[in-house]
Symmetry: C2
Subunit: 290 residues, 2 copies
């Protein structure tokens, strides 16, 4: 396996996640970090701050130098990028992505790549509110889980390289999934909490004076209501069937609450809370979670 | 108005909230802090730690010394306490509570109190996960909002005293509400987020491997799923009509999401997220919120 200090990386899209990869890679003292960004000011800033060593222009010529290309663009822009730039990729490039939705992107990318090039898909279970390079930080990887989509045809050494890279970033664990498993699980653990936060804030009960009656529970429940709408619109729509199934399951729980309240069913109400308490304890016990 | 250093307080129920009052009162160097607790071990511990100066036994005799009684019992136990101990209250006692539900408790308490005694209801918009004295902390008041239920018949000097006490604890603001306003607002800002957290954890999508796919959004959305079930069961049921109305409004938002996804309505999806972003920014801007 290639050593990190001998590996040249290219990061395409220096937003919150792409910028975080640049910062984490710099910590690892990799050979070079090439940055490519639609808005040249951001790339200049990243270079000025020392998180990228070189700026790749729109012609993509510098991509030829990259052993590993990390694509941190929005889902739709990702495919366009591969189509436009594949002629500039190294013959044995390892291409990876950070997309929170997989759908049939891996197969679509495979169809564009030339033999010898390898797309190993994945992403860190990490992020934060807001968007853009200014929000990026190497620390988002600390103790996070990292998902790798292992597919038939991937070169084992590339899968191993990506897994080691994630652990070197400070991730706690790498988990392998199929694209289908990934999208179903993410609909529950990531897409749904975001929709819940937005829905709570958008409730008809929100008024000008609501701010005077808020404590920790409301603050936490709405933290991720401030998200990058343009990106998440794609994540939700590309994962539509799974997301709708999760909304339905949540609604079933809420309906259960409504009926229990209507019936004054003290036993069921206590049981729902006790169940949740134990399930959450299991989720977040020290061995399982950061 | 009575000075704090000349005022004797009694705290009934040394749990998470009662214990926090004891700790905050100690910081203020009040004259005496009498503690009363069903489980005597907790009262002994609080006295040993110096957060209460005296222990009131079940006979309630020591309550006679208290200028201010802070009742931090569960809603139903509160009424029983007032009925059983009213003969031990000072003739001009200021009685207050910390209950997250008001319903018709104030009128019920008034009916038990003797003329000259005054019940000024209220509570801090504060709390934390878990339960019990061990979780208590003076810091829960820091920058919190404090609600005072101002009713006809309350002595203005007592209302003023309670408001000053809340600010002395480190609260950011005191807001006055009627009981009806209180319960409707709390159903949205407190009851509903707790039900959402429990519902998310209890979804049929929860599996043994869910823990590997969790990031900040799920963690935050479920933080308050670990609550005191016996207490919250009462809070929910005593506020049943308001809580059910809030569940319905949330369901309406979720259904709006479901339809937008079904129809692939990109514009509506982006708009919902943008709306939520702006509403939340307004809620939590520095001027409004801790």
């Amino acid at each position: 396996m290639k050593k990190l200090e001998e590996t040249t990386f290219a990061i395409v899209g220096l937003g919150l996640i792409g910028g975080s990869y640049a910062k984490a890679l710099k910590n690892l003292k990799v050979k070079r970090i090439i940055g490519m960004n639609r808005n040249p000011v951001v790339a200049l800033m990243a270079k000025d701050e020392g998180y990228i060593t070189d700026i790749c222009e729109a012609d993509g010529k510098l991509l030829k130098e990259a052993d590993v290309i990390i694509n941190a663009l929005y889902p739709k822009a990702f495919l366009e990028f591969v189509e436009q730039q594949v002629q500039n990729f190294k013959a044995d490039v390892l291409l990876t992505d950070v997309m929170g939705i997989k759908a049939d992107f891996p197969q679509q990318v495979d169809a564009i790549l030339k033999p010898g090039m390898d797309f190993v898909s994945g992403h860190p279970m990490a992020g934060r509110e807001g968007k853009g390079y200014g929000q990026s930080a190497a620390e988002i990887f600390n103790n996070a889980n990292y998902i790798v989509i292992k597919r038939e045809g991937n070169k084992p050494e590339n899968v191993a390289f990506l897994k080691e890279l994630a652990m070197a970033f400070g991730c706690k664990r790498v988990v392998e999934l199929t694209t289908k498993e990934h999208d179903a699980i993410i609909a529950y653990t990531s897409n749904l909490p975001h929709i819940m936060a937005v829905s709570l804030v958008n409730s008809d009960s929100m008024h000008d004076n609501t701010k005077y009656f808020i404590a920790g529970s409301f603050r936490d429940a709405t933290r991720v209501a401030d998200i990058n709408a343009a990106l998440w619109k794609d994540l939700f729509l590309l994962n539509k069937a799974n997301v709708r199934a999760e909304i339905a399951k949540l609604q079933a729980q809420l309906t259960k609450w409504d009926k229990a309240l209507e019936n004054g069913d003290e036993k069921l109400i206590v049981q729902m809370m006790e169940d949740a308490k134990h399930k959450r304890e299991d989720l977040f016990n020290a061995k399982n979670f950061r």
